[in-house]
């Protein structure tokens, strides 16, 4: 492929992914409201459009029409930058996540990932840690106590959980011997899913993913009852919507990462032995990916409406005294597996 073809294909892939993500995010908000309603024996939004399906658009329209308030004490450039940074991080991370096998069309072979880079996982880790800045900036630049407390909590929380996250990924890397997401997916063929081979690592990664996305039970930076709204107390209108979007986009990325690292990525176990035509193989693989992703997103929302928030000291205890040693133990476990079974 020439450089121009690569650029054109990449642009098409980027456009598709951005749009799919935006639509998924808006419907994720809808499902969040629906599932919360079901868990509380309510019906949830059902007035705008058929079964309330146009609700997300009504929400966005409402937010667009609100006045954009910047507090007097705020540091205006950073106050504006923070939501943009959050959105940037949320959307760029997706570039390295493979969502299907290579697509063969009109004589071209197109990998179904925007950027197949060999340091993919490192790239994801780097960008998600950048996400802390968005929240810390937002908290600090608002010039409000609550926001500042939210920002500080967020940075402390993210730092402590990023460590166990990194170490749990270590186990995956040992098995795949590569930082390329494609290679990690390939190393989990059949039922050799990392979630089955290293359940401890799976759990520590899952918990850290919850902490990284600031979702309940780890939503301390927001903590409505104690901090009003945490880091986004002083945000309104589209800037608030930016944080909102970023939170849900982060959820999508976290679940995509979990699927890629632990649940076999886009692979349907033993699909290649069924002898299907290649087009079907690609379609089923992409659908498998979307299905796993949807299940995880449901899990994220389900957990949010079931569990209470952790207290701050409990959170730190859990992060440093439980998650961190467990993720180390996981590495030892995986190394043992490799030694004994020569996988």
């Amino acid at each position: 492929m020439s450089i121009w073809e690569t650029i054109i294909f990449s642009l098409i892939k980027i456009l598709i992914i951005v749009h799919v993500m935006l639509i998924t995010v808006s419907y994720l908000v809808y499902f969040e409201r629906k599932i919360s309603a079901w868990a509380q024996n309510r019906l949830g939004p059902n007035r705008v459009g058929w079964k309330g399906l146009l609700q997300p658009f009504a929400d966005v329209l409402k937010l667009l029409l609100k006045e954009d308030i910047v507090p007097n004490q705020a540091n205006k450039p950073i106050h504006t930058l923070a939501p943009l940074l959050a959105l940037f991080v949320a959307f760029t991370t997706y570039a390295v996540i493979p969502f299907g096998p290579d697509l063969k069309i009109f004589g071209y072979t197109i990998p179904l990932v925007v950027a197949d880079i060999n340091v993919g996982i490192l790239y994801v880790l780097a960008l998600t840690s950048l996400g802390v800045y968005a929240i810390t900036f937002a908290g600090w630049s608002s010039g409000s106590k609550y926001s500042l407390l939210g920002g500080i909590r967020s940075s402390a929380q993210m730092i402590s959980y990023e460590i166990s996250m990194g170490f749990s990924i270590g186990g995956v890397l040992l098995l795949s011997q590569s930082l390329r997401p494609e290679a990690i997916v390939a190393s989990q063929s059949g039922w050799m899913w990392n979630a089955i081979l290293q359940p401890i690592g799976f759990i520590t990664f899952l918990v850290s993913a919850f902490a990284e996305t600031n979702r309940l039970p780890f939503d301390l930076p927001e903590a409505e009852p104690e901090l009003v709204g945490g880091f986004h107390t002083e945000y309104s209108s589209m800037k608030f919507a930016g944080f909102f979007l970023a939170e849900y986009a982060n959820m999508i990325i976290a679940s995509a990462l979990i699927v890629t690292l632990y649940l076999g990525g886009w692979q349907f176990p033993y699909l290649e032995t069924f002898g299907l035509p290649y087009g079907w193989y690609v379609a089923i693989s992409v659908l498998t990916f979307l299905f796993k992703e949807a299940l995880l997103l449901f899990f994220f929302i389900w957990v949010r409406w079931s569990l209470p928030r952790f207290r701050y000291d409990q959170l730190m205890n859990l992060g440093w005294k439980v998650m961190f040693p467990l993720s180390l133990l996981n590495i030892v476990w995986v190394a043992g597996l490799i030694m004994i079974f020569k996988i």
């Binding site: 079901w38 024996n41 389900w302 409406w305 079931s306």
Partner: protein, 164 residues
């Protein structure tokens, strides 16, 4: 010693959280599948029982007269000062009647004291809860809106007779 254990000390199983988390998740999942309690309000209306305290109304006899004798007790007892009564006289057997009877529905707090104090069972709480006004003037209900035929208030009057 087992009895020295404080209530908030968790057992080992509780401290590894996961079984408890699964219990919680199953509980919410069970509730997701249960039938819902929501009433689709404008289409589907809540019909309250006799014990419900909606807006206070004046009882109108079958012959079209009000029961109220304009004693003013309700206006006196009303904690929100919502009622205004002005008495006048007629040539009928029951001489007094309220010339003007107004309840300010913005002030009313639906306590039901007026109903409790009325010696004539002339003011009772109805089942009407759909109260919306577009101006303050609209919220002052005069006799035209307050008078309700007695047969519509049977439930409440029966309730009052059996429990008051």
């Amino acid at each position: 010693m087992a009895d020295k254990r404080r209530k908030k000390d968790l057992t080992f199983l509780e401290r590894i959280y996961i079984p408890e988390i699964i219990k919680g998740l199953l509980l919410t999942l069970k509730n997701m599948l249960k039938p819902k309690f929501t009433m689709q309000y404008p289409e589907e209306k809540f019909i309250p029982g006799g014990s419900y305290r909606g807006r206070p109304v004046l009882v109108q006899e079958e012959n079209g007269e009000e029961r109220c004798v304009a004693c003013g007790l309700c206006s006196r007892v009303c904690p929100a000062l919502a009622i205004e009564v002005q008495a006048a006289e007629t040539q009928r057997e029951k001489e007094r009647y309220p010339e003007k009877f107004e309840i300010n529905m913005i002030r009313c707090i639906f306590c039901g004291f007026c109903e409790e104090v009325c010696p004539e069972e002339a003011i009772v709480m109805s089942k009407d809860y759909e109260l919306a006004f577009t101006s303050r003037e609209d919220a002052i209900y005069g006799k035209d809106k307050l008078l309700v035929p007695v047969h519509q208030l049977k439930d409440r009057i029966e309730f009052l007779r059996s429990y008051k």
